[in-house]
Symmetry: C2
């Protein structure tokens, strides 16, 4: 009924969304919307907050450093991805950014950077990576933004592993039972990508003692971590996730 | 027998490789090997040329602007990827580079940039992209480098489509018969990624008239072209290629 025009601008806002709800915009988004994209009062924009679906909203106030938009109607119901975590040891900045962007597009529920014995990068900028996930969600038309967690210690994470969550290894180490992706059980999962230097002997022993862990082949060529992340999420979504 | 040390440097050379074969190195590779990587006479390096497998070679001459290495023995037989082409409309430079890198890692046989009615980028630097494929092959341990072709006109390409090669569409257009990846026939294939602006009506009609064309779902979220390239190649390799 409303808004026959198709807006292509989608903004993530940290604010409840509901019919007739007014939503204030901060400096960044006002700048982007009014100065960069040249939108003004009366124009439309799509909003989502990761919880209340996507809404078409009308710009009520368009000022240089702030704005107010008002929700008109829901254009997409809230959709959550399957319960799949992506855990990886951060690599070079651009490739880590890339993993976060791709994991968001491909529908990971949670993105977890890992500190392992052979991880080179010991720090991450969580906020920066979270913003990457938000931008990717804005771009890909999703209504959900995966949480990017702080750096986790691999050993600590594994020693406190949640019961009932399966673990999928993707590295050369062949930790876990080697299977075809189509033979894996459905349920809650986490994909774990080894660091470029591989796992340490200690980590490997730890993992071998774990139950519910599986490994799959990602082919005869050596994949970079970022390629492996996309490939593993793709296979998982196609076999066990929401691509079916 | 020879060379117990594991060399990690792999160089692509445009030269025949065989036992005791001497291979001259040009300026770039001599600079990389001797100045950047600090290798010198007597050290080892791995060579491949895309045809004769991988060879361990000994550095006989290490000069500032040139070098000579000599093949000792084959360390990997030549391996060709399955007969799968990746065709895509180029996007932003970094993302086009990325597609070439990932397609090489994932085992595409041929990489074909496409000019479509709605392609933004009308020119590519073929040599630059080919070098990206070479670097990716050096990195991923493969013995094959996919050819990056010059820009192809989509219509021309389709009007002269090779008999017996299947076509897999990955876009929202639902051109082709919609199937699960596991139901596709084995054989020669080409993956075609639509441009970000979609296909034109004319192109769509053309494609609908084609035989042997299929389309698969890449899930409920909109994927960027680069993500779709990796996802489609992954699914194809896993179902019909050499990942089984």
């Amino acid at each position: 009924m409303l808004c026959p025009m198709k807006t292509k601008i989608r903004l993530f806002v940290d604010h409840p969304l509901a019919e007739a709800q007014s939503v204030p915009l901060g400096w960044d988004q006002a700048h982007y919307l009014f100065s960069v994209m040249r939108k003004s009062e009366g124009d439309y924009v799509a909003l989502f907050n990761g919880k209340n679906g996507e809404w078409i909203a009308k710009i009520d106030v368009a000022e240089k450093k702030q704005g107010v938009v008002r929700c008109l109607e829901m254009t997409k119901p809230q959709q959550y991805p399957p319960d799949i975590w992506l855990m990886f040891a951060p690599i070079k900045k651009a490739r880590t950014d890339f993993i976060v962007e791709k994991a968001t597009e491909l529908g990971a529920a949670r993105i977890m950077p890992l500190q392992t014995d052979f991880t080179n990068s010991e720090r991450i900028k969580r906020d920066r990576l979270q913003n990457h996930a938000i931008e990717a969600a804005e771009q890909c038309g999703g209504t959900f933004v995966p949480e990017v967690t702080d750096m986790n210690q691999l050993e600590k994470l594994l020693s406190d592993w949640p019961e009932g969550r399966f673990l999928l290894f993707c590295d050369e180490s062949k930790v876990g039972e080697r299977v075809g992706i189509q033979d894996l059980p459905t349920g809650k999962w986490a994909i774990l990508l080894g660091p470029e230097g591989g796992f340490s002997e200690k980590e490997r022993k730890y993992m071998q003692a774990m139950q519910n862990s599986f490994s799959i082949s990602l082919g005869p060529r050596i994949l970079r971590t970022d390629t492996a992340a996309v490939a593993a999420l793709t296979l998982w979504q196609n076999a066990l996730g929401d691509w079916a």
